[in-house]
């Protein structure tokens, strides 16, 4: 006697009635699959809608192809957009963070782009990294501030001429109460006292930047081997970050640090750090621009790099650099020195 019950797959469907149609879809099909697997002959007894479900498989080739085509067109389109975004004439420059964080390059960039009809891409990094990029040919021109390393870079054949274009001074900042008592000492004497005292914290950039090079130079002038300073104790903190974050860290830890004038002034309002030592010939901070040598990197954009050097040392731009930030900070951030080494 034939069973009066509906086949399993229909029972499942009936049991799920009232639910949104997409929900039982999977179970319905799975139940159907089970049923068909158990009784292959059942296929011929299926309702048309169930048969269509499987017959649809046959047309899937066209559908898949269409989908792949659509996606491919989309990708090509987006790649095209990206390619269109890539400018034809491009000059890539790496600048030291202090010139970037003070907003100087944000101010000068549009002027240069307009004058020479070029896309100037400004990358910011410490002097060490900027020179590394230059050496590898990833940038066309660098603006950095570490004389000894710049001279080495040129001597190694990676750069053309070193053209100084502005300068200011480094300063040692620290907590107002000056726990180590180094106020108004010379930078060298101040560092000696920090080392002997060994209790007041000092935050070092520790990132191979121009400021870090200067700090090492002062330690050397003070008569210490930098390796000894690094291992002198927990008071000496190697941050390994940019100037802004280093200042913030010194502020949080109420420590001393060596900073360039520009970055200090632009962060001053958020810091409880005051200038402690700001006089001494060793604190001179010269920014110079160096084009990458085409002999080292044949594909470099030397023509436009030279344009940038002309631009930076032009009378008009030198004047603007001298005035930059005066209104906002009440003092000069950079002293222009077109092409000549300041004394």
């Amino acid at each position: 006697m034939p069973s009066l019950r509906a086949p399993a797959y229909e029972r499942q469907t009936i049991g799920r009635e009232g639910k949104p149609s997409h929900l039982p879809c999977l179970e319905r099909r799975t139940a159907l699959n089970l049923e068909v697997r158990a009784h292959p002959g059942i296929y011929h007894h299926l309702s048309t809608s169930y048969r269509r479900l499987f017959l649809r498989l046959k047309n899937n080739h066209t559908k898949t192809l269409l989908t792949i085509l659509t996606v491919a067109v989309l990708v090509m389109g987006s790649l095209g957009v990206v390619a269109a975004c890539t400018p034809q004439s491009r000059l890539v420059m790496a600048t030291t963070t202090s010139l970037y964080d003070t907003g100087l390059w944000g101010y000068l960039e549009p002027m240069f782009e307009e004058e020479y009809d070029v896309e100037l891409d400004v990358l910011y990094a410490g002097t060490g990294k900027a020179l590394e990029w230059g050496q590898r040919g990833d940038v066309d021109v660098v603006t950095v501030h570490s004389k000894s390393r710049e001279l080495q870079f040129i001597a190694d054949g990676y750069g053309m001429d070193r053209v100084p274009f502005a300068y200011n001074y480094f300063l040692i900042v620290g907590p107002e109460d000056d726990p180590a008592g180094i106020k108004d000492l010379t930078p060298e004497a101040a560092f000696q006292k920090l080392m002997e005292d060994g209790s007041a914290s000092f935050v070092s950039r520790g990132d191979d930047s121009g400021t870090h090079s200067k700090e090492k130079a002062i330690w050397a002038a003070a008569g210490y081997d930098y390796e000894d300073v690094k291992n002198a104790g927990t008071w000496y903190i190697e941050a390994g970050i940019g100037m802004g974050p280093t200042l913030t860290m010194a502020h949080e830890k109420q420590a001393y640090t060596l900073t360039d004038m520009g970055t200090y002034l632009s962060f001053k309002s958020e810091l409880e750090l005051v200038p402690i030592v700001d006089e001494g010939a060793i604190l001179l901070n010269i920014y110079s621009v160096i084009a990458i040598s085409p002999e080292s990197v044949p594909s470099t954009n030397i023509e436009m790099a030279n344009n940038l050097i002309d631009f930076l040392t032009s009378e008009e731009i030198q004047e603007l650099i001298g005035e930059y930030g005066v209104e906002e900070y009440g003092m000069q951030l950079f002293t222009p020195c077109a092409g000549t080494e300041p004394e």
């Binding site: 997409h22 999977l26 099909r29 799975t30 159907l32 699959n33 089970l34 068909v36 697997r37 292959p40 296929y43 499987f54 498989l57 046959k58 899937n60 080739h61 898949t64 996606v71 491919a72 989309l74 990708v75 987006s78 790649l79 957009v81 990206v82 390619a83 975004c85 890539t86 890539v92 963070t97 964080d101 944000g106 960039e109 896309e119 891409d121 400004v122 990358l123 910011y124 590898r136 040919g137 990833d138 970050i241 940019g242 802004g244 974050p245 913030t248 632009s266 962060f267 958020e270 990197v297 594909s299």
Partner: protein, 228 residues
């Protein structure tokens, strides 16, 4: 705490006023992430299916490796792509470094393991009988695979969502190979990193909130798609 609140109000302000620079940066973030996800999906979906549907020596090991790569650090991928695209590197001639294609290449490499791995997981989650039945009904291997992929589409979409989340939130790679160039390769995450280092915490927080808002909108849209 006031900084958090100020960041929040600033975010609302920037969104409501449709600040052109922020909108541009957000649009760029979204475009980079979407492009990389689409390209990665085109590679990963077939790759995942091939690995799932074939049995070969070392399959288990391969899957383990893929799953380990879910957590590869973004800076490691960044360094790899940097060395590859640097002018003195093997693909230096393309001139891609510090431009959008470099970021997209890096992001694609970053998410391929995620989408491939989750595709394999999704396909393994489908009842075996579906393939068996399709084949018993005369479906070719390709048709059976297509059917199985259809059954697993929600789980695969979840993999895509995860991949998207990974690329839109990464910063190490974009910073390293994109260079955070204003108006060219600056994305939300690299802008946050820059503004933080400049001490503009409010703006940085606001950008972070905008990033979360974008992720939310994308997720809601994809979830809608899932439920249809």
């Amino acid at each position: 705490m006031t900084e958090l609140w100020d960041g929040f109000t600033k975010a609302i302000e920037l969104i409501v006023s449709l600040d052109p620079e922020v909108m541009q940066i957000a649009g760029r973030s979204l475009a980079f992430a979407a492009t990389s996800c689409v390209i990665a999906a085109l590679i990963s979906l077939p790759l995942g299916s091939i690995i799932h549907f074939n049995n070969f020596f070392g399959k288990r090991l391969l899957i383990n490796v893929i799953q380990t790569l879910y957590s590869v650090p973004t800076v490691a991928v960044g360094l790899f792509v940097y060395v590859l695209l640097s002018r003195s590197g093997p693909l230096g001639g393309l001139g891609f470094l510090f431009s959008p294609p470099a970021i997209i290449i890096g992001q694609v490499l970053l998410v391929i393991p995620i989408i491939t791995g989750l595709t394999i997981t999704a396909l393994s989650g489908v009842d075996r009988t579906v393939t068996d039945t399709a084949i018993s009904l005369g479906a070719s291997r390709f048709q059976a695979a297509t059917l199985l992929t259809r059954e697993a589409r929600f789980a695969i979409l979840a993999g895509l969502i995860m991949g998207f989340g990974r690329v839109i939130s990464e910063v190490g790679l974009s910073l390293m190979v994109g260079g955070n160039i204003s108006g060219f390769t600056r994305t939300l995450t690299t802008a946050i990193s820059l503004e933080t280092s400049k001490g503009e915490l409010e703006l940085a927080l606001a950008l972070g909130i905008i990033l979360i808002a974008i992720a939310l909108v994308v997720n809601i849209t994809l979830n809608r798609l899932q439920q249809r």
